[in-house]
Amino acid sequence: MPNTLIDGLKERISNAITVNQSVGILLPGNNYSDLIQALFEHMRSRPEDAWVYLSITRSYDSIIKEFKDMPEKKNIKFIDCISRAAGIPPKEPGCIYIESPALLEKIILEITDVFRDLKDDINKYLIIDSLSSLLIYNDTSLVAEFFTHLSNRTRMLGIHTVSLVIEEETDEGLNKTLYLKSDKIIKVRESFI
């Protein structure tokens, strides 16, 4: 059953992000683990594309314990917004560590910097895990402003974005912005997969 679920999610994500510039994924917390599996499988299957994985939910050391091959993937860069705030010493050169998840402008700058050096003909993708986790550390209006600013910037630079929002963590204000700035919204429901 979990494999069917992950395969279904992978297919939906793959179809959506190829055609649309910005995809919002709204999911219940209990499907988070399956969705992340699907996203990582999708990234693995596209080594010719450039990926940036912005993590606000989990520390990078936790991520690579689960996805052990990630440090070897030269086309996938991580931006970890949580480790330095928690005093977890940065260990991996393949990851950019932001001082705090409240430094929203700095996050945008780092994302822009990573993509800046890439060739124009490469497909570029940004995964935000997750917008709703930013709400733990920031006011809704600031997260909405951040997302609007980031969406405008990524659109201008031709970067595809996949933004995760966990239903239990979000609020009306953030959902509104997500709907407004996304070309496609995927609502994850087990029964729809």
């Binding site: 209990n30 499907n31 988070y32 683990s33 939910t57 520390s59 705030a85 600031l142 239990e168």
Partner: protein
């Protein structure tokens, strides 16, 4: 106190983040208690109550050894800080406290080494609930620990609400959590067949 909890402020939002710094002694002590709980589960033919009792006893022991000396008259905010400094941080637990008041604290655990290293997230969640509850009720005999989302059920973080005074509804939480993890015994018994 040195910075065992780092404050993060953004506009009108304040949260506190733990500063995990693992110590071998406490990790070993937890590992032993965890394995004892697993052994008792097998010996009792899958009785979840034995896991809960073993974990709670471990939590009461931690309270005796690391917290009791600090006060006879606890409030939630005076309990959280030494608990984080003496237990969460040395166990490598990354958690964000979104609320700390006189009678309630709310935490989101985003990094739990027991989950990551044991490979048994269900058992790890049940055990973590049990030992945190043991520590909590040692200080607050009328208190209760509520569990929201759990990594073991696919969520990105484990949510705990620590209450100094439980309501009538809160008092059934221990039984609810046991029911939530009934498959722990099924899985473990299968492994031991």
């Amino acid at each position: 106190m040195s910075e065992s909890l780092k404050k993060i402020e953004s506009k009108d939002r304040t949260v506190w983040i733990t500063q995990p710094n693992e110590t071998e002694m406490l990790l070993k002590r937890r590992e032993i208690a965890f394995n004892v709980a697993k052994g008792k589960l097998v010996d009792s033919n899958g009785n979840i109550e034995t896991v809960m009792q073993t974990a709670e006893a471990f939590g009461r022991g931690l309270f005796e050894d690391y917290l009791k000396k600090d006060s006879n008259d606890w409030s939630m905010d005076s309990w959280v800080k030494p608990m984080v400094e003496n237990v969460f941080n040395p166990m490598g637990t990354g958690a964000t406290f979104t609320k700390i008041t006189e009678d309630e604290a709310k935490s989101l655990i985003f990094r739990c080494l027991l989950h990551e290293n044991s490979g048994e997230p269900q058992m790890a969640s049940l055990f973590t609930y049990g030992f945190l509850r043991g520590m909590l009720v040692s200080a607050f005999p009328d208190g209760e620990l509520l569990m929201g989302s759990s990594i073991a059920h696919g969520a990105p973080m484990i949510e705990f609400i620590f209450k100094a005074d439980a309501t009538g509804d809160d008092r059934i939480e221990r039984e609810r959590v046991k029911k939530l993890f009934t498959n722990v015994s099924e899985n473990l018994m299968k492994q031991n067949d």
